[in-house]
Every structure is written in C-alpha cells, then in structure tokens.
C-alpha cells in the first residue's frame, strides 16, 4: 500500500505542477461553461432547446472536463514509458498492480475535485440564469460521475500503454472529439433521433452525460439514471481491465 500511495503522490504532483493541466482540465471547461451559458441567453426559451440550460450544461461540462483528465493520464503513462524513469522503478520492488493503481488513484481524485469546482461555478452562474440549480442535485451528481471518470482514466491508461508518447495524445484527442460530440454535451442527442441517436447510444459517452444530468435533476428513475449509470460502470470495468492487461503486457515486454 505504501508503494501505491507513494506512486499516486508522485503522479498527483506531476499533474498538478503542470500548468497546462489547469488550462485544459479546469480553465477550458469553465470558459466553455460561461460561453455556452451566454449562448443559452441568446436562444429564445420558446425554441425548446434545453441543452445549454445550466442544469443540463453543468453535467455535460463535468464530463467534458473528465475527457481532458483522460488526455493527461495518457500523457503521463506514455511519457513515463518513453523515459528511463519507469525502467528505474522496474528494478525496485514495485509491482504492475502498484503502477496501475498508482496511476489511476490520483486521476480519480482529481476528477472528483474537478467536478466539485465545475459544479460550484455552475451553482454561482445559476443565480444569473432563469434556472436555479438545486445544490442537492449537484451533490448527488458527483458520485454518479465517478464511473465515467474511471472509464476515461481507463481509456487514458490504455492509450498510454499501447502507443508511444507521440501517438498517444493524438489518439486521446479522437476520444475527446467523439466523447464531447457523441456524448450529447453540445447538442441534444435525444432530440435528433434516427441514426444519430443510434450512434450516440452505441457508445458509452452518451450514458455518462445522461446519468449525470438525471442526478442533477434528482431524477433517479431507472431509464434516466440507473440504467445509463450501469452501462457506464460496465464500460469503466471493461476499460480498467483492458488497460491493466495492456500495461502488464507492455511491462512484461519491456522486461523481456
């Protein structure tokens, strides 16, 4: 446990001391939150477009922020693999489990803190919008966001293990684009219907935003919250297992 905590501490410090992590994981999502709220004020309420209403937008932005934590997980793992720092650690009593949990744990904590900050700013913004956010809904939504955080961290670990430090961020960027677009963060996926909705529903991102938005509304019905949450949890478990296997296999190859 001491080794896991030591490695988690190291990874947390490496991330929090990178100024770019604040720009991408915090400043950019918050800027988007403000910008999209301003966009929402320009859209007539009669249009029925609710995706940028603060109670929908805040959960979408929280998921959007998690996508960048995925990018930084990818960068951390792939850069560590490219240098000789991991080689040095391979020659210590560190096991593959220590490495895997040591990467995931601090990223998960950062995701939770990020969601709290995004929701806190959203709550303040809601005083200036027609829709006041319910603090209970925001609090309830934070644990609901944990499985999606785990899933994105799993993606990050997977790409960081499979690709080198040049290719891995590019692959992560594809997931950022797919996740933010097909996750229904920037448009109302349910309102589109047809093939577009089918594609959204075939990917896990849609369920991340759907379950988080339902929790913000304090709607804990099976269709709105629990079933999407179950799907995201399943995907998170799958991604964590796959990324652990990929990391172990890469470590085994490095030690061959």
């Amino acid at each position: 446990m001491n080794r896991i905590l030591a490695y988690s501490d190291r990874n947390r410090k490496e991330l929090l001391r990178d100024p770019l992590s604040y720009v991408f994981c915090l400043a950019f999502p918050l800027v988007m939150l403000v910008v999209m709220t301003l966009v929402d004020t320009s859209i007539p309420r009669e249009s029925g477009m609710t995706v940028f209403h603060i109670q929908n937008l805040c959960a979408g932005i929280a998921v959007f922020g998690q996508l960048f934590v995925m990018l930084f997980t990818t960068l951390t793992v792939s850069k560590d693999r490219a240098g000789s720092f991991l080689v040095r650690l391979y020659a210590t009593p560190m096991t593959s489990t220590d490495f895997i949990i040591g990467y995931m744990l601090p990223m998960l904590v950062i995701c939770v803190l990020q969601s709290i900050l995004i929701y806190a700013v959203s709550f303040m913004i809601s005083f200036f919008t027609p829709d006041r956010l319910n603090p209970l809904g925001l609090i309830a939504s934070i644990p609901v966001l944990i499985p999606s955080a785990a899933m994105f961290i799993g993606f990050g670990m997977l790409f960081g293990s499979l690709f080198n430090d040049k290719a891995a961020p590019g692959v992560s960027s594809i997931i950022i684009s797919l996740g933010s677009f097909l996750g229904g963060i920037w448009f109302d996926a349910d309102a589109t219907g047809g093939t577009m909705l089918d594609i959204c529903k075939a990917l896990p991102f849609y369920y991340c935003t759907r379950s988080a938005r339902a929790a913000v509304r304090l709607d804990f019905s099976a269709s709105a919250c629990w079933i999407p949450l179950l799907i995201v949890t399943g995907c998170a478990i799958l991604l964590i297992v796959l990324s652990s296997l990929a990391f172990r296999s890469r470590m085994k190859a490095d030690l061959a």
């Binding site: 190291r10 080689v87 040095r88 020659a91 210590t92």
Partner: protein
C-alpha cells in the same frame, strides 16, 4: 551472504540474430567496485539489465546476493539500486520529494524515510538544491540525484550505468568523489567509456568486446597481460585483437 555478491554462468542474451552478451561468466566480490569497459554495443548495458532483473537472459544464469535473477527477482530487487544512463528522475518533483518517493517505494516508514533522506542529502551535499525541482537541475546535479536515489533504499549492490556520461570535467570529478566515498561499503558495478574513470575507481575491470569478456582483472594484471603501460593502450590492444586472455 555469499562472498561473491554477483555471479554469472554462461550468461547470454540474444536479440533476434544479434548476440548482445555471449556466454558471460563473471564473479564480483562483496564490497568490490567492478568496472565494465567496452565500446558502444559491447554488451555492458545489457549485462546490467540482466543483473538488475530488467531483462531475462536467453540462456545461462545470473545470481545477485545468491539469488537467481530469473526466478527470484522479488528477493533481488529490494537489495539493489540502479542509476541508468539517462538521469531517471521525476522532473516536476523537488530533490527532496524524489528522495522521499524512492524511500517510500522501498517500504520505509515516515521516520526511516526522514532519516534516510537527511543522511543521503548530507552524504551527497544536496542541501543547496533540496527544494529545487529535478527538471531544473544541471546535468551534474541530476546525476548526483540519480545516484542518491539509487542509494536511498540501502542497497547491497549498486549498478551505475555510465554515470558520468556527458558531464563536464568538474562534475565528473565531483561524482568520482561520491563514488569513491561509497567504495567498500557496498558492491558497485560501473559501466563506462572513460578509461581514466575505470582506472581511478575500480578494484577490478572487465573489458567487454562484442558481448564477451575479453579481459578481466586488476589494473596491474591487465597491463601485464597486454604489455602496455596505460589502460587506454591495453584496451585498444584487446579491442583490436592484439591480445587475448589466456
């Protein structure tokens, strides 16, 4: 603890058709500083990788502290320290944090970690850069930190893979002083390209050519074997095949 801290028997490593280390048999005593000399691609780093359980031999055996590098790596890892060719430090952590991190990796509790960090900082004179991030250190300081990190776990065997590569003469001399201060207290395996470094620091030397130990012994023994007056001349004679070990 065995008298020989390191022993290899016909240790061989092949990468596809290329044989990086060829049937290496070697014994290194407890407390000895043994230098592996060789040109690029001679097999020095591959040998270190096998001895530190970072690479599995294709055939043959290696033992560190009496434990097999292939089957008992979990017993070897707590007793070794390695400083790789590249300075493997956590760039955004301070010098103190890097040392604390490594101490915790070796399972030390809070008190023991503090004690080891204070001791290592004093031994390596790291006080002036203690709260500086590792990424901002000069090459010489980074190497010192890298070796300090390798030592913080109180290893019985220290592997230094080209520790002074790319350093200026002053930084190199400073590192020599550090390495010299460690002599006798633990077994050290050092790889280097620099003849004067090997001459200055080693108890015994092994000259590797194309994956084989072409000559092995103390400096006077190697000079006697080759009939030369300097290690550099002896090395060239061995590398060019003028002299082969009996």
């Amino acid at each position: 603890m065995p008298v020989n801290m390191i022993e290899t028997r016909n240790l061989t490593k092949q990468y596809g058709p290329k044989t990086a280390v060829n049937s290496l048999s070697l014994s290194i005593g407890k407390g000895e500083l043994f230098s592996l000399l060789g040109v690029n691609g001679a097999g020095k780093t591959t040998t270190i990788r096998m001895l530190t359980c970072l690479s599995a031999p294709t055939s043959g055996e290696a033992f560190v502290g009496g434990f097999s590098c292939t089957g008992e790596s979990e017993k070897i890892k707590p007793m070794i320290g390695i400083s790789t060719q590249d300075t493997a430090v956590a760039e955004r952590l301070t010098v103190r944090e890097n040392l604390e991190f490594m101490a915790r990796i070796y399972g030390f509790d809070k008190e023991k970690t503090a004690e080891r960090v204070n001791r290592t900082v004093a031994d390596f004179h790291l006080e002036e850069v203690l709260d500086q991030r590792a990424g901002t250190l000069s090459g010489g300081w980074k190497r010192k930190l890298s070796i300090a990190m390798a030592l913080i776990g109180e290893p019985s065997v220290l592997f230094l893979d080209e520790p002074t590569l790319g350093l200026d003469v002053l930084a190199r001399r400073e590192l020599w002083r550090v390495i010299e201060s460690l002599k006798g207290s633990l077994t050290i395996v050092l790889t280097t390209h620099y003849m004067e470094e090997a001459e200055h620091l080693s108890d015994r030397l092994g000259i590797m050519i194309s994956g084989r130990i072409a000559a092995c012994g103390t400096l006077p023994e190697i000079l006697e074997m080759t009939g030369k007056t300097s290690l550099e001349d002896a090395f060239v004679a061995i590398a060019e095949g003028e002299v082969t070990e009996e």
